[in-house]
Symmetry: C2
Subunit: 110 residues, 2 copies
């Protein structure tokens, strides 16, 4: 079973889906509005949106006959946190390496 983080990363692995999320970061939108800038069918855009809904990145509400979509940024925070953790782990390792390199000449020094 894919985790929320797995689904989030998979959802972000496509330029159309990333562009949809970018648009929704600016506010709620209808499906037809979202589809307009893309040179693909409305059906293809709908599939991307369903994938974003399964990843819990997009919420849908009905207002009469309209389907309004909005961003749920919470899973993006978890993805950012994972990346940030790797980065600080990696930087800590580089700092340790640098300290190691600075120490060595001293041992040969006066």
């Amino acid at each position: 079973m894919p985790s929320v983080l797995d689904r989030t990363m998979l959802a972000l692995a496509d330029p159309t889906r990333r562009a949809i999320l970018q648009r929704l970061a600016a506010g709620e939108a209808r499906v037809t509005e979202l589809a307009r800038p893309f040179p693909i069918s409305l059906n293809s855009v709908s599939k991307h949106i369903r994938m974003l809904e399964r990843a819990q990145l997009v919420r849908r509400r009905r207002a009469g006959r309209e389907h309004l979509l909005s961003l749920d940024p919470a899973p993006l925070d978890a993805a950012a946190a994972w990346l940030e953790a790797q980065r600080s782990f990696w930087n800590a390792r580089l700092d340790a390496l640098e300290r190691e390199l600075r120490r060595e000449p001293e041992e040969d020094g006066p």
Copy 2:
């Protein structure tokens, strides 16, 4: 053609691949070493590693008969930057919304 960012996100959409990257953030490792903690075949781990190499997240160097793998964190920075951009865009929108809400009562006030 998938972009570097597409490949990075796809590479991160799997818990085994994320764990391999986490291990490599601590330093270079041999394939057999990397495979040890996982309850899957060496062949499956090798496939995950090849995918990480295609995403340019992992580099391989040969030392005699050994294959040594190391992390290349540059694509992670690009992924983190994308997420950070969405977050600041989203936060700017929330701030604007808050200012809007604060302004409204004043209009009805004294």
